[in-house]
Amino acid sequence: MRKFAWLSLVKRVKNILKAIKKYFGLFLKYIGFIWLKQRFQRIPNRYKKMIYGLLFIAPWLIGLVYISIPIFLKSIRMALSDKYYFITGVGWQITGKWYEFTQFERIFTEEPYHLSQISATFEDVLLVVPLVVIFALILALMLNQKIKGIGIFRTIFFIPVILLSGNMLMNFERNSLLTVPAIANGTISSFMTDYFPDLFNEVLLNAFGQIVLILWLSGVQILIFLAGLQKMDKSIYEAARIDGASIWELFWKITLPAMIPLIYINIIYTTIIYANLSNNALIQLITSSSDESRSLAGTLTDEINYGRAYSAALSWILFGIELTVIGFYSLVVRLSSKKYD
């Protein structure tokens, strides 16, 4: 008797579930889905395409709303707070008013311990960026020659594209592999100091001192220049040659003007990549002061020395440095290329 009741109960539940499924299906079919589908088909083609387009980029939109923008806003809020820490069960705590600019005051006036790192990074980026762009252009011109075996050289020149990382550069720096000894302290430097003005020497010796760094940084830039060079119309060169232009003139009057948009791109690219490599003083400061225990716990103890807010402010300063460098060199290129317009 009991067994029978049990079975009937199971049966009943099953029936109910079946009915729910059926009616839900009907509901979906006749009220929701089919209607939507019909409506969708009636939408003009143009709007339909829009909806499809939005559906395709939906992953990015979700990422934008849930990852990129929150991160961006957080980085602003962090830089403008006093302390930013986590308490289990309560959540993230923010202290300090945003308009007080506590961290920036700390960095520039109250505790100016890190100003030297900031200015060192600024000088470093300011020096390396033009060198990389110029070297990249020269190397791209060399690689653009039609001679035998150029493929091998290309393969070698682009190895840094895959191997370049902050750690790799730090590895080189620690073991003084950033310069080729024969270049750094050989005859070149003494020759230079004898014959050239000081400022010029300083820049050039600096370039030789980190020649490996500069070449290793220029992989992608060479690629960009090379792609641009190969797209250039050969007939312009021929026409100019017939008119009696020398190679020197060809470079200054035809090649260089065509490269100017790419120079802007490369200035931006180099600045961003180089400023974000972990071998500069500011980045090391930012990573070391943000998470003392390297545990992501985010507790108040991590905030004792400098803390998240402090390093967020430092990263905004780094961003400022990047923008300044990009702006400065873009202006230089723009002013010096004015005669081409």
């Binding site: 990015w60 990422g63 849930y66 190895i159 895959i162 950033l178 972990s278």
Partner: protein, 314 residues
């Protein structure tokens, strides 16, 4: 005389012998500088401890040995580190490539209101330096919710591939732009023909668009793989001790080594047998060897990538 001059200096189109020799010399010189760190590391990784200490030996080891490599293999637990590395790079790479293809297709083939603004936003957000987002990202990922669902990102591979799936992988904007460019240059007629034949949008995408952009998949896959492979700072932060990739293991070796010898001096004691610069270089070379192999097989695509991405102004 005229002939010699022609050979040496060349005529209009043909460059002369002198020019060629100069170019070759320059190219060889620059190639040497490019390879210098790798060559120096290779030479020193073959040296015995005596050679390393002896300052008169600078390039060619007196009695080359592979012992440093052996030590390195054992220290970094090569097989485990390699599998970890592959796991850490392959999964996020797949996520990056799939989502970049979708997003690139959406941007490349469809017109909708605000597309320009969205693309501008994408590029603007990309230009923001990664270090600026470094700290807030770790704060965000710690208790991450997406569409109200809590996703445990920390201490698992999800910290890499979930953001990649939503267009926030490492430098993913570049990949989206590459796909955008590739999809845009496909002629419209192909898609119109498919539509007339009654193919749905998704089907057109899978059967027509994707096969046409094979190179884009390769380029993005390779770059993404390399970048995830090289990423150590984020990996250490996200994975903790769950995964130890080859570069991470190299890092921890360097940390131990430099804490032992702050000035880099070596002695003949037992610790120096394991912790010396030769082992460190051997380890460095081991950790980049897989990348070099990939590069040598796929260099054509690496180089074509920038050309096709449209960064160079088309």
């Amino acid at each position: 005389m005229e002939k010699i001059k022609k050979i040496l200096f060349g005529r209009n189109e043909q460059s002369g012998l002198i020019f060629k020799i100069v170019i070759y010399l320059l190219l060889i010189g620059v190639s040497f500088i490019f390879l210098y760190p790798l060559l120096a590391m290779f030479a020193r990784s073959l040296m015995t401890l005596e050679d390393l200490i002896n300052s008169t030996v600078s390039w060619i080891p007196r009695n080359p040995t592979l012992k440093n490599y052996q030590t390195a293999f054992i220290w970094m637990q090569f097989i485990k580190a390699l599998t970890d590395s592959l796991q850490v790079s392959i999964m996020p790479t797949l996520a990056t490539v799939i989502s970049s293809a979708l997003i690139g297709y959406g941007f490349g083939r469809f017109d909708f209101y605000g597309k320009k603004i969205l693309m501008f936003l994408m590029i603007a957000l990309f230009l923001i330096p990664s270090v600026l987002t470094y700290i807030p990202t770790t704060v965000l990922y710690r208790d991450f919710k997406i569409l109200g669902i809590e996703v445990k990102l920390m201490d698992s591979l999800k910290a890499f591939w979930v953001p990649a799936l939503f267009g926030n992988g490492i430098r993913q904007t570049i990949f989206i732009l590459i796909f955008y460019q590739f999809f845009r240059i496909i002629p419209d007629e192909l898609f119109e023909a498919a539509e007339v034949d009654g193919s749905s949008t998704l089907r057109t995408f899978i059967t027509i668009a994707i096969p046409l952009v094979g190179p884009a998949f390769l380029i993005c896959g390779l770059y993404s793989f390399v970048w995830y492979w090289n990423e150590t700072a984020l990996a250490r932060l996200y994975f903790g001790s769950e995964y130890t990739t080859l570069p991470m293991s190299l890092d921890s070796f360097i940390a131990t080594y430099s804490s032992m010898y702050s000035q880099g001096q070596l002695s003949m004691d037992a610790a120096s047998q394991t912790y010396n610069i030769g082992v460190q270089y051997a380890m460095t070379l081991i950790s980049i060897l897989p990348l070099l192999i990939v590069y040598l097989f796929a260099q054509k695509w690496f180089i074509e990538g920038v050309d096709r991405s449209g960064i160079a102004g088309n």
